[in-house]
């Protein structure tokens, strides 16, 4: 392939088409979080020893030091974000001066890069900074703000968590002004995507009131344009449904979990491989649902069809929740329409619009189970804390074993509604005996930055 310089607006447009921005297979996406969520347990014989350095096990038992003190292998998600950052900053800085494009096109491309940078920073905060609390954000350490495409930058400093969040909010806000209502393809940012993601950021910051208008606007726009719609599992997984047939190794063969190109439910699509993997740090080998998580599903919940009780070694699973997720090889970590409904529902619930929350919830649920089961029980629907908990559980039901839970664990740990949460992991040996690990709070809700980042930036303080 030829090499060249970026000159035209179209060149910059193609930089925003880099597949690394929306698709990754190895040690990336939320695959580290996938091992750290407390909705999963593990079976030792299938879980351990996949990677030579033992990092899987360290993520799973929430070890303090996970990466060996060398540059390789690089932490997956961090590497991915850093390697994309240069291109994003380049686009942000240069695209307005590119040739041949319309001013609108240039502004749109710049806005896509801004929103992508903000999303990226939010992912990094989710790993490497303390959960956001307004009271301490002005003193908590942030993630370094990287805004210039310059390989000669000598030193970065972390700044405060507040500064990092301010930058995220600023980028999203700037982007929303210039983004289109619908993108050319949903691997690219759109206005509802940026609004939805900024709404998520606000909600994770404990600011549902700021989040809700954005989420509402996003949902309204999506509904109007029809750019994203929900699959109705009641039909797609029924006899003759489009997800079928069911394959013994990967579940519903034609479901979106087995097809990275299926963008129907995506608002902005970012896919990572979360399935079984040999020789890698990540992958869902040996992961099973916890008994508690398994118990969250109603018997008619069609999402159970994405789970199997037969293990990869063709043995029946007899421990934990006795289920492993096999129907989702490709997990989504951009913004999915189901999450947008759940975020909206949560905001409404927290702002005491319980009816609104119930409506959003049921919009999703009726596409996941028969209508009779989809209704939120009245006792829950009329009780704010119970409804919020129900929404959190719905998040698990929708996204279990895909890395989403890690972010929720972090924010719930500082949520006054959820004080005193304890997070545990169980790992079962072949005989069924389990070892329990308990997450050491608050330190281990934050990953330590790899030493080489700290060493490269004199004065930078690592997380405790």
């Amino acid at each position: 392939m030829g090499s060249q310089l970026a000159v035209t607006t179209a060149d910059y447009d193609k930089i925003m088409n880099d597949p690394a921005l929306y698709f990754s297979i190895s040690n990336s996406g939320l695959s580290e979080a996938q091992l750290m969520g407390d909705e999963v347990d593990a079976q030792a014989d299938l879980f351990n020893g996949i990677d030579a350095t033992g990092q899987r096990e360290k993520f799973f038992d929430w070890s303090e030091v996970i990466y060996p003190h060398v540059t390789s292998p690089l932490p997956g998600m961090l590497s991915l974000q850093l390697s994309q950052r240069y291109a994003l900053n380049k686009v942000i800085k240069e695209v307005m001066n590119s040739t041949e494009g319309t001013p609108q096109a240039k502004s749109r491309i710049r806005a896509e890069a801004l929103a992508t940078r903000a999303w990226s920073n939010f992912q990094l905060v989710n790993y490497y900074c303390k959960p956001y609390t307004a009271a301490t954000a002005g003193t908590d350490m942030g993630f370094p703000l990287i805004t210039e495409p310059d390989v000669n930058t000598p030193v970065f400093n972390r700044g405060t968590l507040q500064q990092t969040h301010n930058a995220i909010i600023q980028d999203f806000t700037d982007a929303i002004a210039a983004l289109p209502e619908t993108p050319a393809i949903k691997t690219r940012m759109s206005k509802p995507a940026a609004q939805g993601l900024l709404g998520k950021v606000y909600l994770f910051m404990g600011r549902p009131a700021d989040a809700l208008p954005l989420l509402k606007s996003a949902l309204a726009s999506i509904t109007a344009s029809g750019m994203s719609t929900l699959y109705n599992y009641n039909t797609t997984l029924a006899a003759g449904g489009s997800f079928l047939p069911v394959n013994p190794s990967v579940g519903p063969l034609n479901g979106p979990g087995n097809n990275n190109a299926d963008l129907k439910e995506a608002v902005v699509s970012k896919v990572f491989y979360s399935g079984r993997y040999n020789f890698n740090v990540t992958g869902n080998n040996g992961l099973i649902l916890t008994a508690e998580a398994a118990a969250l599903y109603g018997p008619n919940d069609k999402r159970l069809l994405l789970y199997s009780n037969i293990n990869t070694d063709r043995e029946v699973i007899t421990v934990g929740g006795k289920l492993r997720k096999y129907g989702v090889q490709y997990s989504r970590w951009g913004l999915q329409l189901p999450e947008l409904y759940l975020l909206s529902a949560e905001c409404k619930a927290r702002l005491n619009d319980l009816a609104g929350a119930k409506t959003d919830l049921e919009t999703l649920r009726k596409n996941r189970m028969p209508a009779a089961d989809a209704t939120v029980p009245a006792a829950t629907a009329n009780n704010q804390p119970a409804l919020i908990k129900f929404i959190m559980d719905e998040r698990t039901r929708e996204f279990a074993m895909e890395g989403y839970r890690w972010g929720d664990m972090r924010r719930l740990s500082v949520d006054p509604l959820y004080t005193g949460m304890v997070f545990t992991h169980h790992i079962y040996d072949a005989a069924g005996a389990s070892t329990t690990y308990t997450l050491n709070q608050p330190e281990r809700l934050v990953l330590k930055l790899p030493d080489y980042i700290i060493d490269s930036n004199p004065g930078m303080v690592n997380n405790p």
Binding site: S3, A6, D11, L82, Y86, Y277
Partner: protein
Amino acid sequence: MYNFYTNVICRQNRRFSKILLVMKLTTLIMVLAILQVSARSSAQKITFSQKKATVKQVFKEIKKQTGFDVFYLPEMFKADQTIDANFKDAPIKEIMDKVLIGQPLTYTIDENTIVINKKSISHIPEQKKDANSIRITGVVTDSTGTPLTGATVTVVPARNEATPASPDKEQPKISSASIFTDEKGVFSIDVSEGDMISISFIGYQTYIFTAKQKAFLKITLHPASTQLKEVIINTGYQLLSKERATGSFSKPDMAVIAKRGGTMDLIGRMEGLVPGLVLTFGDRSVSANNNGNGVTTRNSLIRGTSTILTAQNSAPLLVLNGVIVPDFGTLNLDDVADITVLKDAAALAIYGAQSANGVVVVTTKTGSKQLKPVISYSGYINFRGKPNLNYIPVLNSQQYIQTAKEIFSPSVNPYSDFLTNIAPHETILYNLDMGNISQAQANKSLDSLGSISNAGQIKNLFYRNAFTNNHTVSASGGGGFYSYYGSLGYTQEHNNSPGAVNNTYRVNLTQSFNPGDRVKISLNTSLQNLVTSSGSNLNVSNTYLPYQLFQDAKGNAINMPFMTGYEEGLRQTYEQQSGINLDYYPLNELNYTQSKNNLLAVNVTANGTVQLFKGLSFQGTYGYQKLPGTISSFTDGRSLALRKRILGFTAPAAAPGESPTYYIPATGGDYLTGNNDSRSWTVRNQLVYQTKTANGRDDFSFQLGQEVKEFYNYRTSNVVLGYDQALGTYAQIDYNTLNTNGVPGGSVIGNIVSLLGAPFNISKSLSRFNSYFALGSYTYNNKFSLDASIRQDQSSLFGSDVSTQSKPFWSAGGKWRMSNEAFMKSITWVNDLSLRATYGVTGNSPYNGAGTQSDVISALSGSLGQIAGDAFVIQNPSNRQLQWESTSNINLGLNFALLNNRISGSVDYYYRNSTGLLGTTPINPLTGFVSVLGNVGRITNKGLELGLTTENIRGKHFGWSTNFTFAYNKNKIISLTKPNLYSNVASYGVSTTLVPGLPIQSLFAYRYAGLDNLGDPQIMLHDGTITKKINAAKTEDLKYMGTLVPLFNGGLSNTVRYNRLSLTANIVYSLGNVMRRDVNQFYTGRLTNDGFRSGNIAPSFLDRWKNPGDEAFTDIPSYVAAGKINASRRNTAYYTLADINVVSASYAKLRDVTLSYTFAPQMLKSVGIQSLNIYGQATNFLIWTANKYHIDPEYQSLNSGFRGIPPFTHGYTLGLSFTL
């Protein structure tokens, strides 16, 4: 000897007399210009009075009083001819005039010799009968005037084009055409006009000339082993005589190069022959296929490493007939006429931005003028045998089984279908563990495995004897207007892989045209065709599972399904779900791949000179190279690799009874075709002005030129799947779906599938240089020489800013030839003594696209998951601070020749300061990149070089001469502008090689402090603490062990000659560097962790720590089954990378020893051969190493300590060359 002229007359033997009688005395000797006619006449005076003195008496008196010999033929004077001599202080001239007065004779005085000849041919009508037959008489001496007795005078009859001579007529002529000089060095022979006469004497250069007229010749032969003749240095831009050149040049001994048949790589053949040229070995040894032409070039360094880029960037620039070439692969080595290695700035700066690493200038043979066609053949066969597989020590089968039993740990590695690489012995152990078999059954099976060795089968089935065949036939000839040299070459490289074919065919033609006095044109055209084919390479070596045989007693291939990598149950499931057979017969695999390459190289170089005006001329050099080639390979669908890939693209049957879905064809194979077409051209135009001052002792020349070069590289490749060789059909593949989404729902093996790859690939690169240059030189009074050059380069190298490129490269140099000073004249034992000094700036530019001042983006299409269309990715981030490397060079040199040139040589001291070092430098990873190419620091190289040639014994029958080269290089990184902040950990530092204050390629190690009571290795930190804690060490806790690059290096060549037999021994040596030795690397996990091909381990594992207390006896860490424990409890690198495992890499090798015999021409004349030489050579005898572990540093990866398998033990060459 002083009166031999009388003997010429007296010693007329019968044959001589008879010949004389045949000739009419009146047909007198004709004149021929004598060699080296000198205008110098003698000032010697003679006083001599005698009446009726015979001519003989007069000449005798001349000899007596002046020492001058007079040569003449007896028939010139009548026996009774006398003169009345009455000379008083008369000059020789006066006497000679008097003696010859009235005679049809003339004479010449040359140094202390007077030669009398017939006055003029034109006045003497020749008799028809004898028109063709002439007599040549002469005396053969060495350069001191000592006659050479027994020199061979051979006549090569001219082919009569007009009337071809019948064989029987030709025959007698040949039989009378070879004689020897007598004890006075005199010969006389009858020949036909136009015949070629060669005068040869062992140890001297053969002199060949064409017989034109009758003559008396004085022939001086020059010793072959000393370079007394004028040495011409070819810089690629100008020709300089060695006497006046100020720069540092070396010329390797072409005789040694010609006979090193073990390699077809010219750089490789130069080992030890050029002071300061170091061939790198170990893991940086070769760069292959730089240009897509399949050529492998030995990596080399001239005067140390001045860059921290890859080996390719520190390699010398290669110049062929004045034009830069990527390698010498297109060259027939038998066509090489001359090699000059340029080493200092005065020589190099003219090459500008690519000059920092030295230049190797090669010129090829041209036709000699005024020669009848000479047909030559040279050829050899070089035999290398099979690789020395036993060089890497491994466990034998019995030890392997015993070890496997000892370390088997089913609790750590429980049996599951995710276990990969379960070898037969492990299956037995698991079966025993799971209770499927009894202990006795297990023992029996294991013992039986332990008694089998596959070493013999490996050696016989996977390797064959390697040899090389090389043949060149050449013809050269020409006349005043036109001359030519042409050759046909054929090389067959028969390598170690059974079935591989590698043939090279070469045609080369150099033509010179001289259409007039003012115009000279030469044209070199060469064509090379490389045709290769090969089968599968399974890389089976002695590290293979030692008991696993490949064929049974009946010769049938053995199935090894366990080598598919799948556990047996899983494998059967996959087979059943996919319908794809998963057996594996390694022996059958050999036939499943066939690759064919057909590469052509065309090289045309034209050089022209037009004299414009007094001293002013125009010179043009035009080079064009084109390397078109095609490659193709077919991989059969039956090969395991393809079957496994098909498996990855097969969806299992949706329901029982249905068929699996194959997303790529399950039949046929992969057919890959590729084309490459690189081309480059050079156009150089220059004006040259040369003048000599009136007294003839001053020289001035000035050159001004412009040069444009372009290098273009183009490659495409095309792959089709499911190709049916018989039908030529292939399958249509849905690349878009498979590459972007993979198999819908996942394949049989469940995993995400690997990418199919793009069916079509294309790559192009283009770089251009535009340069202006000037060269000037001035020589004053043959004593002082000055050289200067300047060059400015502009290059299209990607993204570079013109303002930073326009940095000129320049040089200046001076030389003082002390031996030409009057005060040195009296010191007769000094033949030559000159002092040289040069200074200049040379450059190094990164390879195309390596560094950039703007972000370089590249297109991405059809990659896995790429659903949004074509994209650009950042290929190289910009580094706006990037500049070319520049190196300033100081060179001080001394040339000397002593004791009648028996000792000659040169000494050079250099200091090179390279700034703006280009290097991959670690950068702050938060910028988005972990490293970029930047200007990172400064390196200095200083060194001393010595080239010495001595002629220890110079005798007629016996001679001994020695060539010695020595080079010392001290390399030091002065600064690195970006120190590795994040690398301040030992685990990084122990593998890094760049530390300011130390040489490039430094080697570091942990300070070993023995094992603890768990058998875990401990190290000592710099504060004396002993620890085994992981990550405890910082870089300051590491010990600097030395450099990987030799400090001292060179060669010693001795040639002993006894008459026609000569024996040459070349020793190469390399001293002062260090290496890691190979130690056991296996301390955890299963024995088959690394698979079956490389799964065997070092026998030192047997001596590991096993029980507490063993730490007193062994340094080899314990084995820990669980990888997690091994990784968390200890760091085995504390042992494997410890100081105790670093040893000296110094060694000396007898690189080759050659016995050569040159036949006496009289033995050859009956078969019509003019000269014939045969030789035999044996190579690669390690005569000394400084390590006690029997490590040959040439095959060691010096930094990692891994042993490479020597491709052969010793090479043997038999060679033959003859001239018709």
